[in-house]
């Protein structure tokens, strides 16, 4: 081992990327395609499609990194449930509900006096939404989405609506609310060499057919095709900076065999998702960056937030065929997306309608009635399970300064500090949730449900923690994810979102990464010495 505590150094590359999830994969593809030498370090194991067993039990190994973080606060976030490990990251088991943020979402501060504005507006991101949706393959009906921001139509028609969706749609119609096919990164028809979905509802376990656009069938193979090297079981423990702290010079990584290696790079991209990204930057503190890299504002790790979500269930007289479809749902309603509902809160919400359900697991049918056990549970599963319909409220919540990711005294097996994730929902979100779920129960009753119930208020998606902005005093990165404090160190992923609207974030995170990569490649000479 060298005097720096490292066993070896790899040959220099142009770009080192931390994390082989959704945005890391896209970044790798973009940089490799532009001719850059790219290496991706992924802390988890290599995942292959043929390993994606259709089982809610087996698929748990895809999720989270147990033991890395504690989750605390009045509303602890489901860190492991929302994250992933291994190639594909969380996107390997995501539900592929791909929405655009609305123009209003970018201006919450200037329009409504809450949270922060994004450093740019919807129109700046629109071309990247349009480009990514063609590359990835989105199915939907743009015309039927009355609320959809301007943009190119989807490249594929929508997925079919099954009986559960038809039943619940009756309730929305009865209450004067509109529904539209859910926009999904799932093939409704064969697309770019990938097959169409067969609607068996195993998305959450990881889709092995290639119908769902997870990184294993989109950007990761393309990145490799263009020469990017992806190293698995490689935990980056530290971003190394120059002596004066103004530039990143590479990353320190612990490999599968235990060797601690230095990887020199011209540009470093951290795409570790909302918990691991701030953890790594905080753990890379130096004398020049005593509070962590990119933390001169003191905001790194702060303001982590999540959508305020709740699933509402109904028992219908008829069978709902709830095993059919996809995990994300069949329909969407965004009639309540507007920020001023006149109900005592700021912000909107949407409904994801008619999920394909499994009997077990956290979001399964039995999980929806945790109060039942013994003979009552047996009776419920036998008599009611096939009659259940469900839908999920995705509600806007605002970042709170006291929420976030911080380091603890403990260390993991690589010597990295462990993390503590603290979260509570803002009062605004609590009011939104109460209003929305009451409406949801009424909708299901209007659809004919003979009984309705709901799950708890939970966090859905992890957002923020390294928010971008124009002012270095109030943000961590610029509009392209480049740290204000370190010129060639970039963050990718939903950590960057100043606000998150009330839609699933993967489409926006991907478009944002595309925009950043495009900019960085165009300005490579200025960015990298």
């Amino acid at each position: 081992m060298s005097r720096h505590g490292r066993d070896a150094a790899f040959p220099p590359v142009d770009v080192v990327i931390v994390g082989a999830g959704q945005t890391g994969s896209l970044m790798a593809e973009r940089f490799a395609r532009s001719g850059k030498r790219v290496v991706v370090f992924e802390a988890g194991p290599e995942r292959r499609l043929q390993q994606l067993v259709s089982s809610q039990i087996w698929s748990r190994a895809l999720k989270g990194t147990p033991g890395v973080a504690t989750t605390e606060g009045a509303n602890p976030l489901g860190v492991n449930f929302n994250t992933g490990q291994g190639s594909g990251g969380a996107a390997l088991h995501h539900y592929a509900c791909w929405f655009r943020l609305h123009p209003e979402d970018f201006e919450m501060k200037s329009r409504h006096g809450v949270a922060s504005d994004w450093p740019f507006g919807y129109e700046a991101l629109r071309p990247f939404y349009d480009r990514v949706q063609v590359e990835v393959g989105l199915s939907g009906d743009a015309g039927a989405e009355f609320w959809r921001p301007p943009g190119d139509p989807y490249p594929m028609p929508p997925l079919p609506v099954f009986r559960q969706g038809e039943i619940i749609a009756r309730g929305f119609a009865a209450r004067g609310l509109k529904t539209a096919p859910l926009p999904l990164a799932i093939n409704s028809v064969p697309y770019r060499g990938r097959p169409a979905c067969i609607y068996d509802g195993w998305c959450d376990a990881g889709c092995p057919t290639g119908a769902l656009a997870n990184p294993l069938v989109t950007y990761l193979p393309l990145a490799r095709e263009h020469g990017a090297r992806v190293v698995h079981d490689a935990r980056v423990t530290r971003i190394v900076t120059s002596n004066d702290g103004t530039r990143a010079v590479g990353a320190e990584v612990v490999l599968r065999d235990g060797r601690r290696v230095f990887q020199s790079a011209g540009l470093v991209v951290v795409a570790g998702f909302a918990m691991e990204t701030p953890r790594l930057l905080l753990a890379s503190a130096t004398s020049a960056h005593g509070r962590g890299l990119g933390n001169s504002s003191g905001l790194l790790g702060k303001g982590l937030y999540s959508h305020a979500a709740c699933t509402v269930f109904g028992r219908f007289p008829e069978q709902t065929d709830n095993h059919l479809g996809v995990s994300g749902g069949q329909l969407v309603c965004q009639d309540r997306y507007g920020k001023q509902q006149g109900a005592g809160f700021i912000g909107g919400y949407q409904w994801l309608i008619a999920h394909a359900l499994r009997p077990n697991d956290l979001l399964g049918i039995a999980g929806g009635r945790p109060d039942l056990f013994g003979a009552a549970l047996t009776r419920f599963m036998a008599e009611d399970a096939s009659h259940v319909g469900s839908m999920t409220l995705v509600g806007e919540s605002l970042p709170l300064a006291q929420n976030g990711v911080e380091l603890t005294e403990g260390r993991d097996g690589f010597g990295m500090p462990l993390a503590r994730v603290v979260h509570r929902f803002d009062d605004n979100a609590v009011r939104l949730h109460a209003h929305g779920t009451a409406e949801g129960q009424e909708i299901l009753r209007a659809a004919g449900a003979t009984s309705v119930w709901q799950g708890p208020m939970v966090g859905m998606h992890l957002l923020g923690g390294a928010a971008m902005g124009r002012d270095p005093a109030y943000s961590v990165t610029d509009e392209f994810g480049v740290l204000h404090d370190v010129a060639n160190l970039v963050v990718a992923g939903p950590s960057l979102f100043p606000t998150g609207g009330s839609v699933n974030p993967t489409f926006t995170a991907t478009a944002l990464a595309d925009r950043a990569a495009t900019h960085l490649i165009e300005h490579w000479g200025n960015m990298v010495r």
Binding site: V53, G78, V79, F81, D200, G201, P359, A366, M381
Partner: protein, 246 residues
């Protein structure tokens, strides 16, 4: 001589040893005297080896003893689980046989059918796996502590509650008493509970039990739900005994 499957798998000699040892542990735990204990041990061996019909045995004892006998089968299941889990993992076993038997009984109370579906094997196999690979709902619940310790402490707390309330261990409780205790644990507010949060312990084990009863290929079939796997699991869960069907 017809051997029950587990006895056949285990080998008669080993089976005798295991049953004797397990019986000692459990009978000791419920405070039975040695002669009576050994009668049960003998029954356990016979039942385990398929030498005596269960009904004949049950008819020979009073109701309280019947409960003991019922759980001799549980012991057998726990012994099988012990063997399966040890065989299925390179690490040791995190729960001893008495706790496995209690775990089976607890899970059966929460989700009928869990014991036969192999809930103790499921949990033991996951606890024997590296933490990164454990396929328990506890993983989703972000339990920061040691996974085996979560179950150990929960099961011990359950046992103390059973003893405090009814004067006997959980496996010895009548079904109604088990259910009543489960309700109190589920509520999260149970006097004297010292372990992981009671509500969380209830939820985690209930989820485990739901997994094995309803979340497998056989479980779907039980509900008449088509499984329609893209890639069918070769076994119901990682580390499952090879003999268990998905």
């Amino acid at each position: 001589m017809r051997l029950s499957p587990w006895a056949a798998a285990l080998g008669v000699k080993t089976a005798r040893l295991v049953v004797c040892k397990v019986s000692e542990i459990l009978l000791g735990a419920v405070g039975l005297d040695a002669p009576l204990a050994w009668r049960f041990v003998g029954w356990g061996m016979m039942n385990g080896l398929g030498l005596m019909k269960k009904q004949q045995v049950l008819g020979a004892f009073d109701p309280r003893r019947r409960r003991v006998l019922k759980h001799m089968s549980l012991i057998g299941a726990a012994a099988v689980t012990y063997r399966e889990a040890v065989a299925g993992s390179r690490a040791g076993l995190s729960l001893d046989i008495a706790r496995l038997a209690r775990l089976s009984a607890w899970a059966e109370t929460l989700v009928p059918g869990a014991e036969a579906a192999g809930v103790a094997n499921f949990i033991a196999a996951q606890l024997a796996a590296p933490r990164q690979s454990a396929c328990l709902t506890l993983r989703y619940l972000d339990w920061a502590g040691d996974f085996p310790d979560f179950y150990r402490r929960g099961l011990d707390a359950l046992e103390r509650s059973a003893m405090a309330t009814h004067g006997r261990g959980f496996v010895m409780l009548a079904d109604a008493d088990r259910a009543a205790l489960a309700g109190r644990v589920a509520s999260g507010s149970i006097d004297g509970w010292q372990g992981p949060p009671a509500g969380l312990f209830y939820f985690a084990v209930r989820s485990d039990a739901v997994d094995v009863v309803y979340g497998t290929v056989q479980g779907f079939a039980r509900l008449n739900v088509p499984y329609r796997a893209h890639i069918a699991p070769v076994r119901p869960w990682p580390g499952a005994w090879r003999g268990r069907r998905s």
